[in-house]
Protein backbone atom coordinates (compact mmCIF):
# COMPACT_ATOMS: atom_id res chain seq x y z
CA UNK A 1 0.00 0.00 0.00
CA UNK A 2 1.36 3.36 -0.99
CA UNK A 3 -0.02 6.90 -0.91
CA UNK A 4 1.80 9.85 -2.43
CA UNK A 5 0.75 13.52 -2.61
CA UNK A 6 3.26 15.36 -4.75
CA UNK A 7 3.86 18.76 -6.34
CA UNK A 8 5.98 17.04 -9.03
CA UNK A 9 4.78 15.98 -12.46
CA UNK A 10 4.53 12.18 -12.69
CA UNK A 11 3.99 9.60 -15.38
CA UNK A 12 1.21 7.22 -14.34
CA UNK A 13 2.50 4.23 -16.33
CA UNK A 14 6.05 4.58 -15.04
CA UNK A 15 4.79 4.83 -11.45
CA UNK A 16 2.56 1.77 -11.88
CA UNK A 17 5.39 -0.25 -13.35
CA UNK A 18 7.83 0.84 -10.63
CA UNK A 19 5.39 0.09 -7.81
CA UNK A 20 4.37 -3.26 -9.25
CA UNK A 21 7.98 -4.43 -9.36
CA UNK A 22 8.16 -3.90 -5.57
CA UNK A 23 5.28 -6.38 -5.02
CA UNK A 24 7.62 -9.35 -5.10
CA UNK A 25 5.87 -11.31 -2.33
CA UNK A 26 2.53 -11.17 -4.18
CA UNK A 27 3.89 -12.07 -7.63
CA UNK A 28 1.86 -14.89 -9.15
CA UNK A 29 -0.96 -14.26 -6.64
CA UNK A 30 -2.72 -11.42 -8.37
CA UNK A 31 -4.59 -12.07 -11.60
CA UNK A 32 -6.26 -8.69 -11.93
CA UNK A 33 -5.17 -5.06 -11.79
CA UNK A 34 -7.66 -2.23 -12.19
CA UNK A 35 -6.37 1.30 -12.55
CA UNK A 36 -7.88 4.73 -12.97
CA UNK A 37 -5.95 7.76 -14.14
CA UNK A 38 -7.33 11.27 -14.08
CA UNK A 39 -5.66 13.86 -16.29
CA UNK A 40 -6.20 17.56 -16.72
CA UNK A 41 -8.48 18.43 -19.63
CA UNK A 42 -8.00 21.69 -21.52
CA UNK A 43 -11.71 22.52 -21.19
CA UNK A 44 -14.35 22.47 -18.45
CA UNK A 45 -17.99 23.56 -18.48
CA UNK A 46 -17.57 24.97 -21.97
CA UNK A 47 -14.47 27.07 -21.24
CA UNK A 48 -10.87 26.62 -22.31
CA UNK A 49 -8.69 26.03 -19.25
CA UNK A 50 -5.06 27.11 -19.53
CA UNK A 51 -3.76 25.79 -16.23
CA UNK A 52 -4.87 24.71 -12.79
CA UNK A 53 -3.82 25.15 -9.20
CA UNK A 54 -4.52 22.23 -6.91
CA UNK A 55 -4.63 23.12 -3.22
CA UNK A 56 -4.68 20.51 -0.46
CA UNK A 57 -4.56 20.26 3.32
CA UNK A 58 -1.08 18.97 4.09
CA UNK A 59 -1.34 16.27 6.72
CA UNK A 60 -5.08 15.67 6.49
CA UNK A 61 -4.98 14.78 2.80
CA UNK A 62 -2.31 12.11 3.25
CA UNK A 63 -4.03 10.80 6.39
CA UNK A 64 -7.37 10.58 4.60
CA UNK A 65 -5.88 8.72 1.61
CA UNK A 66 -4.05 6.26 3.91
CA UNK A 67 -7.27 5.51 5.79
CA UNK A 68 -9.16 5.19 2.51
CA UNK A 69 -6.63 2.66 1.17
CA UNK A 70 -6.88 0.67 4.42
CA UNK A 71 -10.66 0.63 4.12
CA UNK A 72 -10.42 -0.68 0.55
CA UNK A 73 -7.98 -3.39 1.64
CA UNK A 74 -10.38 -4.48 4.39
CA UNK A 75 -13.57 -4.25 2.38
CA UNK A 76 -12.48 -6.11 -0.77
CA UNK A 77 -10.32 -9.14 -1.43
CA UNK A 78 -7.46 -7.15 -2.82
CA UNK A 79 -3.74 -7.59 -2.37
CA UNK A 80 -2.44 -4.05 -2.68
CA UNK A 81 -3.29 -0.47 -3.64
CA UNK A 82 -1.48 2.56 -5.01
CA UNK A 83 -2.74 6.17 -4.84
CA UNK A 84 -0.82 9.14 -6.23
CA UNK A 85 -2.24 12.67 -6.37
CA UNK A 86 -0.65 15.78 -7.79
CA UNK A 87 -0.89 19.19 -6.10
CA UNK A 88 0.25 22.71 -7.01
CA UNK A 89 0.50 24.13 -10.52
CA UNK A 90 -0.76 21.80 -13.24
CA UNK A 91 -0.78 22.03 -17.04
CA UNK A 92 -3.36 20.53 -19.44
CA UNK A 93 -2.79 16.80 -20.14
CA UNK A 94 -0.76 16.42 -16.92
CA UNK A 95 -1.73 13.46 -14.77
CA UNK A 96 -3.64 14.58 -11.66
CA UNK A 97 -4.50 11.31 -9.97
CA UNK A 98 -3.73 7.61 -10.19
CA UNK A 99 -5.47 4.86 -8.22
CA UNK A 100 -4.82 1.13 -8.66
CA UNK A 101 -5.89 -2.11 -7.02
CA UNK A 102 -4.25 -5.53 -7.37
CA UNK A 103 -6.45 -8.58 -6.69
CA UNK A 104 -6.82 -12.28 -7.42
CA UNK A 105 -10.02 -11.72 -9.37
CA UNK A 106 -11.35 -8.90 -11.47
CA UNK A 107 -14.58 -7.97 -9.66
CA UNK A 108 -12.71 -7.02 -6.47
CA UNK A 109 -10.06 -5.15 -8.44
CA UNK A 110 -12.66 -3.10 -10.35
CA UNK A 111 -14.84 -2.37 -7.33
CA UNK A 112 -11.95 -1.37 -5.07
CA UNK A 113 -10.51 0.88 -7.78
CA UNK A 114 -13.85 2.59 -8.35
CA UNK A 115 -14.36 2.97 -4.59
CA UNK A 116 -10.94 4.60 -4.20
CA UNK A 117 -11.53 7.24 -6.89
CA UNK A 118 -15.13 8.01 -5.87
CA UNK A 119 -14.22 8.44 -2.20
CA UNK A 120 -11.14 10.45 -3.08
CA UNK A 121 -13.17 12.79 -5.28
CA UNK A 122 -15.94 13.35 -2.76
CA UNK A 123 -13.97 13.40 0.52
CA UNK A 124 -10.21 13.92 0.17
CA UNK A 125 -9.31 17.55 0.94
CA UNK A 126 -8.20 18.82 -2.47
CA UNK A 127 -9.50 21.94 -4.22
CA UNK A 128 -9.07 22.87 -7.87
CA UNK A 129 -8.73 26.40 -9.14
CA UNK A 130 -8.93 26.80 -12.89
CA UNK A 131 -6.90 29.46 -14.66
CA UNK A 132 -8.96 30.62 -17.64
CA UNK A 133 -8.12 33.15 -20.33
CA UNK A 134 -10.08 35.73 -18.37
CA UNK A 135 -9.22 35.20 -14.74
CA UNK A 136 -9.45 32.32 -12.32
CA UNK A 137 -12.27 30.32 -10.73
CA UNK A 138 -12.56 27.70 -8.02
CA UNK A 139 -14.16 24.47 -9.22
CA UNK A 140 -17.32 24.21 -7.14
CA UNK A 141 -18.09 20.56 -7.64
CA UNK A 142 -16.77 17.48 -9.39
CA UNK A 143 -18.47 15.63 -12.23
CA UNK A 144 -20.91 13.21 -10.59
CA UNK A 145 -20.03 9.49 -10.51
CA UNK A 146 -22.68 8.69 -13.10
CA UNK A 147 -21.43 10.92 -15.93
Amino acid sequence: MKVVVTPDEFNAWTELQAYETTLTAQRGQWGAVSTFIGTMRNFNEGDAVNAMFLEHYPGMTEKYLQALSQTALQRWEILDTLVIHRVGHIQPSDTIVLVAAWASHRASAFEACRFLIEELKTKAPFWKKEILIEGERWVEKNTPATV
Partner: protein, 78 residues
Protein backbone atom coordinates in the same frame (compact mmCIF):
# COMPACT_ATOMS: atom_id res chain seq x y z
CA UNK B 1 -6.23 29.62 28.60
CA UNK B 2 -6.24 27.33 25.56
CA UNK B 3 -4.42 27.66 22.26
CA UNK B 4 -6.36 26.64 19.15
CA UNK B 5 -4.91 26.77 15.64
CA UNK B 6 -7.53 27.56 12.98
CA UNK B 7 -6.96 26.97 9.25
CA UNK B 8 -8.94 27.99 6.17
CA UNK B 9 -8.58 26.54 2.69
CA UNK B 10 -9.32 27.30 -0.96
CA UNK B 11 -12.18 29.72 -1.77
CA UNK B 12 -12.97 30.07 1.94
CA UNK B 13 -9.35 31.11 2.63
CA UNK B 14 -9.74 33.85 0.01
CA UNK B 15 -13.13 34.89 1.41
CA UNK B 16 -11.97 35.25 5.02
CA UNK B 17 -8.66 36.67 3.77
CA UNK B 18 -6.39 34.53 5.89
CA UNK B 19 -5.10 30.97 5.89
CA UNK B 20 -4.32 30.51 9.56
CA UNK B 21 -5.08 32.15 12.89
CA UNK B 22 -4.18 31.21 16.48
CA UNK B 23 -6.95 31.66 19.03
CA UNK B 24 -6.51 31.85 22.81
CA UNK B 25 -10.04 31.33 24.15
CA UNK B 26 -10.78 31.27 27.88
CA UNK B 27 -12.86 28.10 28.17
CA UNK B 28 -14.36 25.05 26.38
CA UNK B 29 -15.59 25.61 22.85
CA UNK B 30 -17.32 23.78 20.03
CA UNK B 31 -16.14 23.89 16.40
CA UNK B 32 -19.01 26.31 15.66
CA UNK B 33 -17.84 28.60 18.47
CA UNK B 34 -14.27 28.48 17.15
CA UNK B 35 -15.62 29.63 13.79
CA UNK B 36 -17.59 32.48 15.41
CA UNK B 37 -14.57 33.64 17.39
CA UNK B 38 -12.22 33.43 14.39
CA UNK B 39 -14.62 35.06 11.95
CA UNK B 40 -16.12 37.89 14.02
CA UNK B 41 -19.55 36.23 14.30
CA UNK B 42 -19.96 35.85 10.53
CA UNK B 43 -22.43 32.90 10.20
CA UNK B 44 -20.82 29.53 9.41
CA UNK B 45 -21.91 28.82 5.81
CA UNK B 46 -23.90 25.60 5.58
CA UNK B 47 -21.76 23.98 2.89
CA UNK B 48 -18.49 24.56 4.76
CA UNK B 49 -16.81 21.39 6.09
CA UNK B 50 -14.85 21.23 9.31
CA UNK B 51 -12.05 19.06 10.67
CA UNK B 52 -10.32 18.76 14.04
CA UNK B 53 -6.82 17.32 14.16
CA UNK B 54 -7.03 16.21 10.50
CA UNK B 55 -10.36 14.33 10.86
CA UNK B 56 -13.80 15.40 9.64
CA UNK B 57 -16.08 16.50 12.49
CA UNK B 58 -19.50 18.11 12.90
CA UNK B 59 -19.84 21.72 14.05
CA UNK B 60 -20.95 20.73 17.57
CA UNK B 61 -17.74 18.81 18.30
CA UNK B 62 -15.87 19.98 21.40
CA UNK B 63 -12.41 21.45 20.85
CA UNK B 64 -9.53 20.89 23.30
CA UNK B 65 -6.38 22.85 24.08
CA UNK B 66 -3.79 22.40 21.32
CA UNK B 67 -6.31 21.25 18.69
CA UNK B 68 -6.05 22.23 15.05
CA UNK B 69 -9.43 23.21 13.62
CA UNK B 70 -9.89 23.55 9.86
CA UNK B 71 -12.71 24.96 7.71
CA UNK B 72 -13.00 24.41 3.98
CA UNK B 73 -15.44 24.26 1.04
CA UNK B 74 -16.61 21.03 -0.64
CA UNK B 75 -13.62 19.15 -2.04
CA UNK B 76 -12.90 18.92 -5.78
CA UNK B 77 -9.83 16.71 -6.17
CA UNK B 78 -9.20 13.69 -8.39
Amino acid sequence: MMTIKVKFFASLREEVERSEVDLKPQGEMTVAQVWALACQDMPLPEHILSAVNLEYVSADTAVKDGDEVAFFPPVTGG
